[in-house]
């Protein structure tokens, strides 16, 4: 009855007044929807950002992607291949059971047992040989080699409740999905039920209606700061225009990724816009496989000009990054000289390449291409902020030094398939370092492509620098943080000074919200509802 009259009041008063029935409700418009409520189903930022409200990992990444204590209060390496994590005391799951090492073991055990996972979390557990309880409130984790990134990797694996999942009284870890005492393992669809989707986070799952909304309610027994909202509703609104409209009309209180060109209007309408530098670098990759002929390059008698360092440098110097940031990105980006914005872990403070078309032209002439050549620049047109416009601008700048560049812009699904088939001599793409440190871009984008070691999976320019590979491999098994940071910084400089890959700019992430809300903008571009607060 109460509800009905409230709705009637809404109808009379208009939509703006009833978007949130009480003061302590929050509605957020997201640009994409989680594919499951199972935190181990699909390794996708869309899922992670939503599920981090319900579940918590042992370690967390703060807004600057620094690894901070989550359900573990501290951790140390016992030796090169063993880590010890001390669990936080007094933590209770949303079903009332207390956090114990058994939950941790169960969580890591379940990862390989998730069926039909589109992108499995096994990349984080494959190297784990054993997980055992060390007393009542600590776990020991053994890896098959020195793994300094284990604490970072574990921030991707939120802890499930072994009780809610129906595990036996003791769970024993065995690598490769052969754990014992797992009971009947619930699959992703079972997590649509709040009885299974039980975590330790500040909010509980109320309901998940695919395509429509996900509703969370506050968990009063949360160990940390009490949640601000009684109810949080997250709605997927995939198109930009309708998402903006939803904010302007008061349907939602906050949206992620409003289009840059609409920001002025949003501000004029009395909303708050916040932005933050992200960990996403937009770069140009150049085809440098010396054994294969480069596709789509003409006017060079079959040679690949990109194998010449001078040509690569010329391309970098020909690009006016400041102009791209100011005109195309509307100021919501930052010119880049590295693969991660300093001062993140492993950066070395390398300066941004100066715009110098004269020197670029000289370099081209010295390399034997006074009249330039013809090349195709591949780019997605719906993946990064204003991606195809940026590619157009780069192409025009390259034309000015004589490199006749044709832009081939396509929808993301097409672009990435073609890129992975090495169809572009030059392409524009982006990389967000999920670990928040330098080994992520180095390992994926510029390490020599090698199926056996799993290095360079996204290196579709096939850049190869054996010296850098060696340094990177060494760094990745160096436990000492200070030493590792120096090594990563050096490895990055080797690649960039060789113009093996050309950084353009770091994206800035934007959120728009009602006045009276505050959000600590994150470098990983996540929208986490529990970090949205009522401004005091």
């Amino acid at each position: 009855m109460m509800k009905k009259s409230a709705l009637l009041a809404c109808l009379l008063a208009g939509a703006t007044m009833c978007s949130s029935a009480g003061a302590a409700d929050l509605a957020i418009g997201l640009k994409s929807e989680a594919t499951s409520m199972d935190p181990q189903f699909h390794q996708l930022s869309t899922n992670t950002q939503v599920l981090l409200n319900i579940f918590e990992p042992l370690t967390k990444q703060d807004p600057f992607q620094k690894v901070t204590p989550g359900l573990a209060t501290k951790w140390e390496s016992v030796n090169d291949t063993t880590w010890r994590f001390t669990l936080r005391g007094g933590v209770k799951f949303q079903n009332g059971s207390a956090l114990s090492p058994r939950d941790v073991i169960y969580t890591y055990c379940r990862v390989p047992l998730v069926v039909n996972s589109p992108s499995s979390f096994t990349i984080y557990t494959a190297a784990i040989l054993d997980v055992t309880a060390d007393g009542k409130n600590a776990v020991l984790i053994k890896t098959d080699g020195a793994n300094p990134l284990l604490p970072t990797d574990l921030s991707n694996l939120p802890i499930l409740s072994a009780d809610a999942a129906g595990a036996d009284a003791t769970v024993t870890y065995k690598p490769g999905g052969k754990c014992e005492g797992m009971g009947k393992v619930p699959q992703s669809v079972d997590f649509n039920s709040p009885a299974v989707a039980v975590g330790t986070g500040p909010y509980k799952l109320d309901r998940f209606v695919r395509g429509s909304e996900m509703v969370l309610t506050r968990y009063d027994g949360y160990w940390g700061t009490k949640p601000d909202w009684d109810k949080v509703t997250m709605r997927p609104i995939t198109s930009d225009g309708p998402r903006i409209a939803a904010l302007l009309s008061g349907d939602v209180d906050m949206i992620e990724s409003p289009p840059i060109q609409d920001l002025k209007r949003v501000k004029d309408a009395g909303f708050k816009v916040i932005d933050a530098l992200s960990n996403r670098i937009i770069y140009l990759a150049l085809f440098q496989d010396s054994k294969a002929t480069a596709p789509n390059i003409n006017g060079t008698n079959g040679k690949n000009p990109l194998l010449d360092k001078r040509v690569r440098e010329a391309i970098s110097l020909a690009i006016n990054r400041e102009a791209i940031v100011a005109r195309i990105m509307g100021g919501y980006a930052k010119v880049a000289g590295e693969l991660l914005p300093p001062p993140m872990f492993g950066t070395n403070g390398r300066a941004v390449d100066k715009y110098d078309p004269k020197k670029a032209k000289e370099l081209l002439t010295a390399a034997g291409y006074p009249d330039g050549f013809e090349i195709t620049l591949g780019t997605p047109n719906d993946r990064y902020i204003n991606d195809s416009q940026v590619a157009q601008a780069v192409a025009q700048m390259l034309v000015r030094i004589g490199i006749k560049t044709k832009v081939d812009a396509q929808t993301a699904s097409q672009f990435f398939s073609r890129r992975n088939k090495l169809e572009f001599p030059m392409y524009l793409a982006g990389w967000g370092a999920s670990s928040g440190e330098m080994s992520s871009p180095l390992k994926s984008l510029v390490a020599t492509y090698d199926k056996k070691t799993g290095m360079g999976p996204t290196n579709a320019g096939r850049y190869s620098n054996p010296e850098m590979d060696k340094l990177l491999t060494a760094a990745m098994s160096t436990i000492d943080d200070a030493k590792r940071e120096v090594m990563l910084g050096k490895a990055e400089k080797m690649v960039l000074d060789d113009y093996g890959i050309i950084p353009l700019h770091y994206e800035q992430t934007v959120w728009a919200m009602k006045k009276g809300l505050s959000y600590a903008a994150r470098v990983d571009q996540y929208t986490i509802a529990s970090d949205v607060h009522a401004a005091k």
Partner: protein
């Protein structure tokens, strides 16, 4: 009658098979789903494992053979993205779309037919002319633009109605519907109107043309001469006779409204099947795309069959046994 229905079903099966082949080859040509699905941090071994698990490492004919094999067991495949049966994913979305399409259809008929009849009876009046002018706007303005304008006026500027989403739903027989709650209805008005505008214009024009034609018929003149009230003439004699073409067209249009309400659903973030189709295309979720298109064929074929049957009910001259399908 039975022979007729059997023949129709046979034709439908043929259309379904042709669709399956076309769609399967079509989606096979557009990109590799693994490139979209897999996390960028995954290494080559993970990518190869995912490719193998989805069966994408097999040649096209083998994938198709497997698909057909599963089809005969009533299995349209498992969604790459959600890891659930594709049909289940689609059917979850069906109620939202049906609800919207039926509401739009009702709006189109309830508003369109009276306006059309009015414009047909008084073609030269100011009212009649403005109805016709309005109907031209209705089907010449692009659908998405109409939708955005509706949002801008009623949601952003006036703030009367929500800009999108489905609102509060209640479960009836295990299906979530929103037309039974006030909040749900408020959410439905704009998208239903957006979807209905084009059909409404169509109905208006069709009704008007037919009304004018029927008005000149002998039996209308006779009815007038007999001294029947004009209400009775319009309601019984004119309306009944203009309904046949209107029903035919609406039947066809209902099929397309259910299957391709893509634009409206996207603009209003309406969680129906059309939006699912767009999302699935962007994610290259092949099983869902294929299952969706197969389902639309079934829906459209079924609706056409029902229309043909209705036809005979409305017009006694049509005898189905004589129709050479």
């Amino acid at each position: 009658m039975i022979v007729y229905i059997l023949r129709r079903i046979g034709q439908s099966l043929f259309a379904l098979a042709a669709m399956a082949i076309l769609v399967f080859i079509g989606v096979f040509a557009i990109g590799n789903p693994v490139d979209i699905l897999v996390n960028p941090e995954a290494n080559q071994a993970e990518i190869a494992a995912t490719t193998a698990r989805l069966g994408l490492d097999k040649p096209l004919w083998e994938q198709f053979a497997r698909f057909v094999g599963h089809l005969f067991q009533g299995d349209l495949g498992t969604s790459f993205v959600y890891g659930r049966p594709a049909m289940e994913i689609i059917l979850q979305r069906l109620p939202a779309t049906m609800e919207l399409a039926v509401t739009a259809l009702i709006l189109a008929v309830v508003i369109g037919v009276p306006l059309g009849v009015y414009a047909g009876l008084k073609p030269d009046s100011i009212g009649g002319r403005s109805v016709m002018a309005g109907s031209i706007l209705g089907f010449s303005l692009p659908n998405f633009w109409q939708g955005l304008l509706l949002i801008l006026i009623f949601a952003v500027l006036l703030g009367w109605l929500p800009a999108g989403g489905r609102g509060e739903t209640v479960e009836v027989l295990g299906i979530r519907v929103s037309f039974l709650t006030l909040d749900g209805l408020r959410h439905m008005i704009l998208p239903a109107l957006n979807l209905a505008l084009f059909k409404m214009s169509l109905v208006i024009r069709l009704t008007r043309a037919n009304t004018r034609e029927v008005c000149l018929q002998e039996y209308i003149k006779f009815a007038r001469a007999k001294g029947l009230s004009s209400t009775r003439i319009v309601l019984v004699h004119i309306l009944k006779n203009i309904m046949i073409p209107v029903v035919t067209i609406l039947g066809l249009e209902l099929g397309s409204m259910i299957a391709f309400a893509v634009v409206t659903e996207t603009v209003f973030a309406w969680p129906g099947m059309g939006k699912l189709l767009i999302d699935s295309i962007n994610l290259l979720d092949r099983p869902v795309i294929v299952a969706y298109l197969m389902l639309t064929v079934v829906i459209i074929v079924t609706i056409n069959l029902i229309v043909d049957l209705l036809y005979s009910a409305l017009d006694p001259r049509v005898r189905l046994s004589q129709v050479k399908a």
